[in-house]
């Protein structure tokens, strides 16, 4: 009896940490697979307005993004301060919107082409003039499904 007790006091049980790397790697792979890296850097300011009556956009593979806003600090001295359109990673003009959207739709698999939504990510300081020009361009190429991306929240802060 005394022998047993002595042994117990001298050495407290250690938990093996050998499986810790495995657990952490598992978490790591989980995050690596579920997250999507941002493809392009934003060249325009993009603080979206907020709204309450919004719908979530599922099916990420059917969305074409268009960004609009004032160019960021690095580009102000090149393109000026007026709000600009960003398509993929390039700053573009209104006339480029139509061809861009058609090209993006053509890249999608054929069974999805009919369901493509154009998501407009527009800075809240932008003017409606530019937006309606973009809408006209979209109508010309028959891309009629659009979505004004917003944050969720009370609209009073706008």
């Amino acid at each position: 009896m005394s022998k047993f007790k002595k042994n117990n006091v001298a050495k407290s049980q250690e938990i093996s940490t050998a499986s810790l790397p495995d657990i952490v790697f598992m978490l790591l792979f989980f995050f690596m697979t579920v997250t999507v890296m941002k493809e392009e850097a934003l060249k325009v300011e993009n603080i979206l307005p907020s709204a309450t009556e919004i719908k979530k956009m599922e099916h990420k593979d059917r969305i074409v993004y268009i960004y609009v806003g004032k160019p960021t600090q690095n580009y102000v001295h090149i393109v000026g301060e007026e709000p600009k359109i960003q398509l993929n990673d390039k700053l573009a003009n209104v006339s480029d919107v139509g061809p861009f959207v058609l090209a993006e739709i053509a890249k999608k698999p054929s069974h999805l082409r009919g369901f493509v939504t154009v998501a407009l990510k527009v800075d809240k300081k932008a003017n409606m003039g530019l937006i309606s020009d973009i809408k006209q361009e979209l109508r010309k190429v028959n891309a009629l499904k659009i979505n004004y991306i917003t944050y969720e929240g009370e609209e009073i802060v706008n």
């Binding site: 940490t17 810790l20 790397p21 932008a126 499904k145 917003t150």
Partner: protein, 208 residues
């Protein structure tokens, strides 16, 4: 003589630290984002037809936003927080007399003969200036969609004891079961038919 018993073991003790470092890097740099926003259909570009579609003036609710963000709804200067109420009253009016084909049984409005005939005839038209701020425009759109959602919720509560917005969200959720989806689709379609969303996107006017 020391390396007699095969290759020396590499210590795996720091493996956890390395993995943690990577994990934290990925946690910080990536974002799981789902975008949400206001869905809208643009009117198709149609060749000019000889016959103009005639819509009665009383069936149009005209909302104009000027460049300083002021609102004009049906010729009246109003505040943003009044817009939803006004739009709801207009949509829910049901002015067509009973017995005619446009008569709206489920409307609870004033049945004012000088306002919209029925929800399916009622059109809301939004007009903005080129200088109007985008945030103002979105707020107006949000209020109008809100008016539709309020009315649809009301009808949905009456018919199915459930909010329309909740049903729609469940229908759009990819994790929803297929059978449930089919059932919801029918209900959603029916409610949408009661109050079809007719928001017209008029072209912007140029100031001066």
């Amino acid at each position: 003589m020391a390396r007699r018993a095969g290759a020396p073991e590499v210590s795996a003790g720091s493996m956890a630290d390395i993995a943690f470092l990577l994990l934290i890097f990925f946690l910080v740099t990536t974002t799981i984002e789902t975008d949400a926003g206001l869905d809208r259909m643009l009117p198709p570009m149609e060749p000019p037809t000889e016959q103009d579609v005639i819509v009665k003036q009383k069936n149009i609710f005209q909302v104009s936003i000027n460049k300083s963000g002021q609102l004009l709804a049906d010729g009246e200067l109003i505040q943003l927080n009044q817009l939803r109420e006004k739009a709801t009253a207009f949509l829910d009016n049901g002015g067509a007399p009973s017995g005619t084909e446009d008569y709206c049984k489920y409307c609870k409005g004033k049945r004012d003969a000088s306002s919209s005939d029925s929800p399916s005839k009622a059109i809301i038209s939004v007009k903005s200036d080129r200088e109007t701020k985008y945030s103002t425009y979105i707020t107006v759109q949000n209020e109008l969609v809100g008016a539709y959602n309020d009315l649809r919720d009301r009808e949905s509560q009456r018919l199915y004891k459930k909010d329309f917005t909740a049903m729609e969200a469940e229908y759009l959720n990819p994790e929803t079961d297929k059978d449930v989806k089919e059932e919801l689709k029918e209900k959603v379609k029916r409610i949408q038919a009661l109050f079809p969303q007719k928001l017209s996107e008029a072209e912007t006017s140029t100031s001066n």
